[in-house]
Symmetry: C2
Subunit: 371 residues, 2 copies
């Protein structure tokens, strides 16, 4: 059984989405935000309701606030709700834990208090922010990091795993410091470099921007992120992020040196070419390490790909038959090249339906492509 | 009327796709590649046929070879086909033009020869390469840059505009040097930074990579590009690329300084925060300058978005009715949130069908969303 009631402190995108998801799973959700207007909006959007004096004490408190205020709010919650498990969801975990340890060392928190704290990082996010963008399915198929510390009480991690699974996300248990190193590489450095690239567009001529392609759009998409939030995230993870950026600075300097040499000399020493080739080739190997299908936003689903003749009604027939087979279509993408006489429909279904759909469509004469 | 026959020299992805597209438009296409195997494969794939002794001299020669060999092949073609317009399609334009000018200065080419040369850059590309990946629709909706020089003969630009339009691409006329500055910002710097980011993943722990999200996938997608090709492109555009990378190095150093300060001091001077906030905020403004809808791969089409009740057969019914209305569906993407009782079908159609489909679907009772 999930813990209930749950108190969500801070109803932005993440807190709001957690409230919606937990509420949908039958949990009683209470909400609280530093802004009364935001609290009202969250209530109106169905995230939860405001706590009343006669409400049971929360079994779980979720502090969904930026890293710079998370520790203070966690400490308050540990004190105010002495039976509750208290988690934060900040995108960096080490500063929050160290702040709480310092409070414990200063006698502000007891070891028992600290044993009820667990850092978490449900890794979802959109370029938009605020409770208005909250969605119950925000965490579906996304990693949900759980960071126990040396004093975490027994059973707390299992509790959080259960919640993460209920949200449809994938629990990953790792130490706070290792979490921070990981997100420095897979999230924070990409943010810095995407912003750098986008910044370079400020000086581009109008006509130059007409040459923008999908590569530029993809590499800069996250440059649309919220500055206020990212100043806190990057600042709070400076320790893990600096060495990662340092390596990139060094490598970039090497690339610039190689380019300088090649600019002056049309047939340069082989070292310059090798430097560039190594950058791209190492990049090839690095990108190949990313798990899952590239560009797919539906990792939680299995995809069945079917050839569809390019004649009227064929796609409709495919979908009608998919329904007859009893399989629910979660997403659909049609790949269709001009000049080709067939298209390919990629049908996303829950993984347990993949075999059934593949078998039944083949039996009805459809060409199902091998994964 | 399009020039015919056209001789395509170099049948990789770009040359092959141009051959397919021109052939589809009724042009007689001849192919030639330094590799006999590649030539045969191109012929087999329908790109064109090998020139015969009794063939008419080409009206247009397309040199589709990497920047380091493009100028030599253009010079040969200008000499071998004294009536033909000769274009190259290399991704950098200044080095090719300067090489040809040097040949003219050395008396290898006449001014008349040079007047028949025009640089072009059809801006398409996929992470895959080779003629096997060629597609007739590769250039659809993409910029097709045409770079005339001071000696380009009258009518040549108009000729190329016509070809670009026939391919479904968007002609953009600009000087070679300005083209190179533009692609340094919108294509080459993104390649370098994407490769840098991906290189950083080589040192990541296995578990860290489990935290990869869409942001990392998007920022590193182009890191899967071909090293051999990119060494040539980056090297050939060193002059335009170096100042762009130099600005980014400087800015990155500023960000690293700010992070160092914030690491040592939990409440640093306001300057450090401002440096980070400015990076992200400038990035916001930069990314907003990119024309077109972000993440859309179907810019050439109009999208009609329709609410679809989440009950069996509704999507099939929508597509059946779309066919009945007489509109061809070019692409389809279904947006479907868990817990929501409706989905949204985004139907891509050719722009001239947008109004018809919107009106007729509405008349049949579908909720069509406002663009």
């Amino acid at each position: 059984m999930l813990p209930s009631p749950v108190l969500v402190i801070g109803t932005g995108l993440i807190g709001g989405s957690l409230g919606l998801a937990l509420g949908g799973a039958g949990v009683e959700v209470h909400v609280q935000d530093v802004s009364p207007g935001t609290t009202s909006l969250a209530v109106e959007l169905g995230v939860g309701r405001v706590r009343r004096a006669d409400d049971a004490d929360p079994a779980l408190v979720v502090v969904a606030a930026p890293p710079d205020v998370a520790a203070a709010l966690v400490a308050q919650a540990l004190e105010a709700h002495p039976e509750a498990l208290v988690v934060d969801v900040a995108s960096v975990k080490r500063v929050v834990l160290e702040d709480l340890r310092a409070r414990a060392a200063a006698g502000e928190l007891t070891a028992d208090d600290l044993s009820r704290y667990l850092g978490t990082h449900p890794m979802a996010g959109r370029e938009v922010s605020g409770v208005i963008a909250a969605r119950a399915d925000l965490f579906l198929g996304r990693p949900f990091v759980i960071c126990p510390h040396e004093g975490t009480r027994r059973g707390a991690v299992a509790r959080l795993r259960q919640i993460a699974t209920e949200l449809g996300s994938l629990p990953v248990v790792m130490e706070a410091a290792r979490h921070d190193e990981a997100v420095a590489r897979v999230s924070h450095a990409p943010q810095v470099l995407a912003s750098l690239l986008a910044t370079g567009l400020l000086e581009a001529e109008e006509q130059a921007l007409e040459l923008s392609g999908q590569g530029l759009r993809d590499t800069t998409r996250i440059a649309a992120s919220d500055p206020r939030l990212w100043v806190e995230i990057l600042g709070a993870n400076a320790r893990a992020l600096l060495p990662v950026l340092g390596d990139m600075q060094e490598r970039l300097a090497g690339v610039a040196d190689a380019l300088s040499t090649m600019q002056g000399d049309p047939d340069p020493a082989v070292g310059s070419r090798r430097e560039l080739a190594r950058l791209i080739a190492d990049g090839n190997r690095g990108v190949a390490r990313i798990p899952g299908k590239h560009g797919s936003g539906t990792d939680a689903f299995a995809t069945v790909s079917v050839m569809v003749p390019d004649s009227p009604g064929e796609l409709a027939r495919l979908l009608t038959e998919t329904g007859q087979i009893g399989v629910n279509l979660e997403d659909l993408h049609l790949e269709h090249s001009l000049g080709q006489r067939v298209g390919v429909a990629h049908i996303a279904v829950i993984p347990s339906h993949e075999d059934l759909l593949t078998r039944e469509l083949a039996r009805r004469g459809w060409s199902v492509l091998e994964g």
